[in-house]
């Protein structure tokens, strides 16, 4: 067990090494701690606010125990979703796999350590999204110490089973890797397949949930209760822990925790037996299988043609993004998938209510003041969508140790920065076009408004791209063990969220301040504000191009 703990620590350190260094108390860390502290407080505050409102409503109709069921199912569901995204990378695509395999370690030790990494990442997320609401419940219902002990047991035990279950599914899929002739393509297909499962589940569940929102509270409670009752049958551990959390009897608490513990332990034993048979076959197939189908095709004569440097460089960026499954899924695809998926989910469920929300939006759009409001909302939504495009924020980190290439080629660093952010700007524009297309379909906006919206959103996209590459240059994560560490386990990814939040606040302020002036004049002022900000950011990037690259060495 000692080796498992040490190995887990090494895997975690490897994944979060840069983050550790940044979060350490030494060197300029106070301001960083402050930033993370503010972010944590912001999200924690948001969760407390939402939990309080929901709990307050439920307590008023004496149905507060439903809240516990909802949170525990959320913990279970979160573990499923998070593992679907992370397991394939943590189990199969980390660079250290090659170095770990020859070490004198037993298979179960490696499997347990890898699973431990997934579990610890899960606990961090659950601490914020699961533990805070459960503490809120305890506070608002004046729960005793028994509740809090049970709560900690729930948070520790519940995520284990879904992680084991999803990991087994991933291992089954990946065990086919050894039969494939092209492991890169297989990795991509396997990743897309898993994301497809996530999307399918989210579409299916969101439809049901949204249909409930406009029901009367009592009816919603009955339905939610019914749903939880149905799901309890499939997830007995959640059922036991709900019972343990909502009782005052010590005996019932102990029995239910014991039952959950036994089921989890049996699950773990089964997992170890199955995974020892599956994991290493897939891992070896993935590591040592043919990485690409070899081609003996003659090179076309046209291929030798000169290309402008910008085309060549940007083309290289796109090829690197598109041919890497993790970067494709985390950096390129969200630009297309997120607006379509979100709008599909929201719009289809709104239509289910007889087009009520649609007619409300149309009604809001009738007066000039409210048109400005609608425009502000659309810009805010676009901001929300584009914060998931991680091309610019990972532009330098993605290069890893190759980043030094930028410094010895005879191309100015500023030009290279611009070439690196152009894919981000292009994908931003794709998101903007999709979002505006949907907005036009729903609201039938005037062409001029669409054009202005496009221009302002594009300027904001350029600003975001420049600012994010500056962040990545100042805090590059160049030593990584898998692409996943750059595109997911990277604290820099909070900065696009932070910027989008700031932009949304600015938009809201402008909408409020300019509500009494002409819409187009207000929009022009908003546009000017972002043009100035973009100009300043670009000037900073240009003037400090060499200093910004100091961390690349």
């Amino acid at each position: 067990m000692d080796k498992v703990i040490k190995l887990t620590k090494i895997f975690l350190k490897n994944s979060f090494s840069n983050m550790d260094a940044r979060m350490g108390i030494s060197s300029k860390s106070k301001s960083k701690i402050l930033i993370y502290g503010i972010l944590f407080l912001y999200f924690a505050g948001l969760i407390i606010f939402l939990s309080y409102n929901l709990l307050d409503g439920l307590i008023s109709i004496h149905q507060e125990t439903i809240f516990v069921g909802m949170i525990l199912f959320m913990i279970f569901g979160l573990a499923i979703f998070q593992t679907l995204f992370s397991s394939i990378n943590i189990l199969y695509f980390t660079k250290d796999n090659e170095y770990i395999l020859p070490l004198p370690l037993k298979p179960y030790q490696i499997i347990l350590a890898r699973t431990g990494v997934m579990l610890i990442i899960e606990y961090v997320i659950i601490f914020l999204l699961g533990l805070i609401p459960l503490v809120m419940y305890g506070v608002l219902t004046n729960a005793g110490i028994l509740y809090y002990i049970t709560m900690i047991c729930s948070v520790i035990l519940l995520p284990i089973l879904p992680i084991l279950l999803i990991s087994i599914i991933v291992m089954i899929i990946m065990s086919f890797a050894r039969f494939t002739k092209n492991r890169n393509r297989f990795q991509l297909i396997a990743s897309i397949l898993l994301i497809g499962i996530v999307i399918a589940i989210s579409v299916a569940t969101s439809g049901t949930r949204d249909n409930l929102t406009n029901e009367e509270m009592a009816q919603a409670v009955v339905q939610a209760n019914g749903m939880i009752e149905i799901m309890k049958g499939y997830v007995p551990t959640v059922d036991y822990m709900v019972e343990a959390l909502t009782t005052n009897s010590l005996f019932i608490v102990v029995i239910n925790i014991f039952k959950t513990f036994i089921i989890t332990a049996v699950g773990l034993v089964l997992y170890l037996i199955i995974s020892q048979k599956l994991y290493f076959k897939g891992l070896i197939g993935n590591l040592f299988g043919s990485s690409t189908t070899t081609s003996n095709k003659k090179i076309n004569q046209e291929k030798y043609q000169n290309s402008k440097l910008y085309k060549s460089y940007i083309g290289k960026e796109f090829k690197t993004l598109a041919r890497n499954p993790v970067f494709l899924l985390q950096c390129l695809l969200p630009a297309v998938l997120i607006p379509i998926l979100m709008v599909f989910v929201v719009y289809s469920s709104l239509n289910g209510d007889g087009g009520l929300a649609e007619s409300t939006i149309k009604m809001l759009g009738n007066t000039p003041t409210n048109s400005f409001l609608i425009i502000g909302i659309i810009l805010g939504i676009i901001q929300f969508f584009t914060m998931f495009i991680y091309i610019s924020i990972t532009a330098i980190s993605r290069e890893g140790s190759n980043a030094i290439f930028m410094k010895y080629i005879p191309v100015s660093l500023y030009r290279q920065y611009i070439y690196k952010i152009i894919p981000n700007i292009i994908m931003n524009i794709v998101t903007i076009i999709i979002s505006l297309g949907i907005a036009e379909y729903i609201l039938h906006l005037p062409v001029l408004t669409l054009v202005i919206l496009f221009v302002i959103a594009t300027i904001m996209g350029i600003l975001q791209s420049i600012l994010m590459i500056i962040v990545d240059l100042k805090r590059p994560k160049l030593n990584w063990d898998s692409e996943y560490a750059v595109a997911k386990q990277n604290m820099n990814l909070v900065f696009p969220v932070l910027l989008s939040m700031i932009n949304i606040v600015i938009i809201a302020l402008m909408v409020y301040l300019f509500k009494n002036i002409n819409v187009y004049l207000g929009l022009a002022m908003l546009g000017c504000l972002f043009i100035i900000a973009t100009f300043v950011a670009n000037k900073y990037l240009y003037n400090n191009q060499n200093e910004l690259a100091n961390k690349i060495s």
Partner: protein
Amino acid sequence: MIEIKNVSKSYIKGKKSVDNLNLDVKNGEIFGFLGPNGAGKTTTIRMITGILNIDEGDILIDGKSIKNNSLEAKKSFGFVPDSPDMFLKLKGIEYLLFMADIYDVPQEKRKEKIEELTKKFGIYDQLNNQIQSYSHGMRQKIVICGALLAEPKNWILDEPMTGLDPKSSYDLKEMMREHAKSGKTVFFSTHILEVAEKLCDRVGIINNGKLVFVGTFDEMKQKFKEETSLEKLFLEITEK
């Protein structure tokens, strides 16, 4: 020609990784840069190539300062870094054409040059495959091809023989000799003393950030008054 003038570099305040280095690598010369691990070889090479900023002094490549005229200086050399794991998702041909675009290799020359280099290193048939499917040695070869494509006057190679098979290693050494014979410069670091002994016109030995010896192998023997191998002399110099 590479001129290193009073160059110093510190990573930690008060501790110089490279201390007041002075060195001229002349045209028509193969210069071997030797030293134990952590002596300052890679730091020096990274300063020559502009990857690291120079704290004190300057480096001129064909008379152009890497500090003040870096783009022009960078056009004057081809660099092979110590790790060949670059642009793994690109096909070999895509990488070489990308390098050709960066170094403005003319249309009429790039086909001829790519074919010549890749055939010499035996990787021509692999050009349509992604670099990640290459072995370590093949990756080293494609990076060397990329660096030599634009026919730079100065070659700067960090451990270029690592991973190369005997035939490719021999071919590279021959190319280095031809390059120097045509009046151009080769500056390379190596741990293989035998290669340095047989190939280099002069060697420089760096230890603890200081250049402890510069000269020919014969000069080294004379200086230490010993009729022995470079290996023994190297150990004597660096362990002093």
